[in-house]
């Protein structure tokens, strides 16, 4: 069997002393965490180790001795051998290195030894992700994972540096002195009270009873601004919880939300600074009413065209006139409403534009809502046309069965023959004839309004897609992968450092970072939008039959459309 010794690179040039670390349970390997130098008192060493063990919750032991003799320090070998009697343990490693030579020697004749050098700081900071395709919960306890866990959990061991005047002198990656910056310390101190304040404010907001009443809830579920607001509130609640994140996934999620929130607000402030200069709001307000007028005029012209002989099709004149006049009246009402609002639009826009300081996503949601409100009449027309068409199709299919003398058996879900009464037959045939001849007219109106509605929904869908991307993209994880790739590890790779015959094999362990696409996919922030459940075939069938297609509303359980 081969013994694997994980040796930190920082201890390559350490003075002689004791090796402190952990035997990896279940595997034939050992992780060296630090070297305790001479002079030391064994009792104090043992006390320190037991303190560390209770702090870290790992089985820290003295592994063996490390000797790198400098000038005037010969004759240590026998001293080192005697040490094994002082610190009782299972195995005692005796590693030695000579100045000028590259390789180590391990005085253990029983088995072969492989030295694996690792960068202690990087391994301590990195998180090993499960292999591609593996479930995170089903990860087995592998040797590598144990090694990473050992180093990551031994952080308290690395607090003693060479400037501490204690009885024990250690060498590890931080023994040259810990770095700290005042800003970071200040932020850390200030973050706790800020979190508390934020939590209190959020609890006030969520406790507002008025928001739970039915009309407000209904309206707020339709407006995407309110949905975005509630989504962000949830995010803030996640960030501002005063407990530290224990799991790596929680920490990443918090960090991602925080960073994307900051970026969102920054972009929003940028938008505000651009929008409120040079009276752009005023100009926007001045173009809004003419745009609405233009849309209404186009619709009126469309209806006039339909009321004539559109595309050479011959429509039933009476029905045509009725439907056309009905829709024209609606447009007239809508235009009056817009004109009524026109003096206030600039002020409304000014105040609404301020909400972009909450983030770019808010600005986009407001745009989407404005589009929805401006095209509300198209939505109404679509609903009317779809309902009439749906009724007609339903009536026709039922009356066609009556025509042939059959009936739909609801219990058996099939078509059965049926003997009808005389009056049923008469009225049924009359209605069937009427519906059949009025079908082309209704179908044309339905087609036109459905196309218009689909256009508006596409536009809104595009805006929502933008919002979704900004909401869910994990910027922190992406940045971490780009600038500190060792923190997201997928695996390790080994490089041969020194392979001399007669000496042990020395390998260098380097961290393999996670692929960028995998990192982004894994750390995506979940958002509220659902993806369309209907396939294209089901959508076409719904369109043909006249079922209503609902737009991009998040809380709706019905069908969605891209």
């Amino acid at each position: 069997m081969v013994l694997k010794i994980f040796f930190p690179q920082c201890c390559n040039r350490a003075d002689s002393g004791l090796l402190v670390g952990r035997w990896v349970p279940g595997f034939d390997s050992v992780v060296v965490l630090a070297v305790i130098h001479y002079p030391f008192i064994p009792g104090q060493v043992k006390k320190y180790l037991s303190e560390m063990q209770s702090a870290i919750q790992l089985e820290l032991t003295v592994l063996g001795s490390w000797s790198m003799p400098k000038d005037g320090q010969e004759g240590m070998d026998s001293f080192l051998k005697d040490l094994s009697t002082i610190f009782p343990q299972g195995r005692w490693l005796q590693l030695s290195r000579e100045l000028g030579k590259r390789g180590f020697a391990c005085d253990d004749e029983k088995e072969k030894v492989i030295f694996i050098h690792y960068d202690q700081r990087k391994v301590m900071l990195s998180h090993l992700h499960p292999a591609h395709g593996q479930e995170p919960a089903a990860e087995g306890v592998s040797e590598l994972r144990l090694v990473f866990q050992t180093v990551a959990q031994s952080q308290p061991l690395f607090f003693l540096d060479k400037y501490d005047d204690g009885p024990i002198k250690l060498t590890h990656w931080q023994s040259e002195g810990r770095e700290a910056s005042i800003l970071v310390e200040l932020i850390k101190q200030a973050s706790v009270p800020m979190c508390l304040v934020l939590t209190w404010l959020l609890s006030l907001w969520t406790q507002l009873r008025i928001l739970n009443m039915w009309p407000v809830r209904f309206v707020s579920s339709k407006l995407s601004t309110c949905v975005q607001l509630s989504h962000r509130t949830e995010h803030l609640q996640t960030i501002s919880s005063p407990r530290r994140a224990q799991q790596h996934a929680d920490f990443m999620r918090k960090a991602n939300i925080f960073v994307s929130f900051l970026v969102d607000i920054a972009l929003g402030l940028l938008l505000i600074s651009w929008l409120y200069r040079e009276n752009r709001i005023g100009r926007l307000a001045n173009t809004l009413v003419p745009v609405a007028d233009h849309v209404a005029k186009e619709l009126q012209e469309l209806l006039q065209w339909l009321m004539g002989a559109p595309a050479g099709l011959k429509m039933n004149r009476a029905l045509d006139q009725v439907l056309g006049r009905f829709f024209l009246y609606h447009i007239h009402l809508w235009i009056s409403y817009i004109h009524l609002l026109s003096p206030f639009i600039e002020m409304i826009l000014w105040y609404v534009g301020l909400s972009a300081c909450l983030g770019l996503t808010f600005a986009l949601s407001v745009v989407s809502d404005i589009v929805a409100l401006l095209t509300f009449h198209i939505y109404c027309f679509y609903v009317y046309g779809a309902r009439i068409y749906c009724l007609k199709i339903y009536g026709l299919s039922s009356l066609w069965r009556l025509f042939r003398g059959k009936k739909w058996n609801v219990l058996r879900q099939r078509v059965d023959s049926c003997s009808y009464d005389l009056d049923q037959l008469f009225i049924g045939t009359l209605l069937f004839t009427i519906l059949l001849f009025l079908l082309p007219t209704t179908a044309l109106y339905y087609l036109v309004f459905t196309l218009l509605r689909l256009g508006v929904v596409l536009l809104q869908g595009f805006i929502h897609l933008m919002i979704d991307i900004i909401n869910s993209f994990p910027l922190f994880a992406g940045g971490l992968r780009l600038f500190r790739p060792y923190r997201l590890a997928e695996g390790v790779k080994f490089k041969v450092l020194c392979e001399e015959p007669g000496m042990s094999l020395h390998l260098m362990m380097e961290i393999n970072p996670l692929k960028l696409s995998t990192a982004v996919q894994q750390y995506r922030i979940p958002t509220y939008s659902c993806y369309p459940k209907d396939s294209w075939a089901a959508l076409c069938k719904k369109l043909f039959v006249g079922d209503l297609i609902y737009p991009w509303t998040p809380l709706h359980k019905g069908s969605k459309e891209d």
Binding site: K314, M315, N316, R317, A318, L402, F403, R404, G405, S419, Y420, L422, D423, L425, F426, I427, G428, T429, L430, F432, T433, I434, F437, L438
Partner: protein
Amino acid sequence: MLNVTKLNRKRKKTDNATWRESGAPHWLKSDKDKGRRHGGAGRLRTLPTASVGAMGADGGSEAAPATPWRKVLYERQPFPDNYVDSRFLEELRRNVGVRRYRYCAVAREAGLVAQQVSCVAAVLTLWSYMAQGRLSPFMLLGASLLCALLGYVLYEALGGPRGSERTRWADLQSAAIFLAFTFGFSPILKTLTESVSTDTVYAMSAVMLLAHLVSFPYAQPSPPGSLSLNAALFGSVCLASRLPGALHAFAMLTCALLVFALWPCLLHRLRNRAPWTFPWAAVLLSLAAVTGLATLSLGGALLLVLALLALTLLCPLLLLRLQRHKDNIHGPWDEAEIHEDLSRFLH
């Protein structure tokens, strides 16, 4: 009368002979007929060598065994596998259930079809008159209502099982519903086919009326068949939408309803209660239709007369003549038919 019956009996005998002689295949002729006349289903017969020679592989080499061939598979018999006994297909019966038609009866029943055709022709004539403006809708409406009333009185006078389904009140309700709906929808109906070209309308009506004639339940006209009534009404709605006014459409539809929906019920009752009136009614109707059509176009009237004559006189003759070519075979392989009255199991 006596002569007629003698004639019928003679015809029966000759008919039998004709069928038997023409029907039997050549290889079953001689022995089979004898066997049938003597009822030889269960008799033991020795094996005639002539029949074996006609079909067996080794003709004449087999000596006649003592035991005759039996129609069982569970016993080993001393016959070859492809042995065909002389009793093969002796249970075959030809044309057992064939009815012998009488010309008069068939002609009488064909009168129903002719009558229906003339109904359609009458409706078309009335429509044509209204379209040309020679008939005012009020007159047609009045006449239809009067006829409906008369027909109802006649229906009640003929009596018969009323049943608990329909009371007079229900009938009145139905009539009110018909009139109200038709009157209410008549403005819509008038403009229904404005945008459809005349040729299409005529073609659709023709197809629908033809479908009505084809799918009419001639055997049992009283509950009107769905498809036939619907097709007739669809065709008449198409035609009514071509008339100049809403009232015209209303009158036309009332008339069509009367002729296609209510008249067959009355006719059925007439046939059941007073069968002697039925031919007179049919003849009267045909004459009325022909004369009506004649005032519009002589060619049409001529065509109608020819069609009616063909239907009533020619087609029954054809049916009778073709009966001689009937060749149904029956035997013990037929599906079982239940002749008992099983309704006693219902109670």
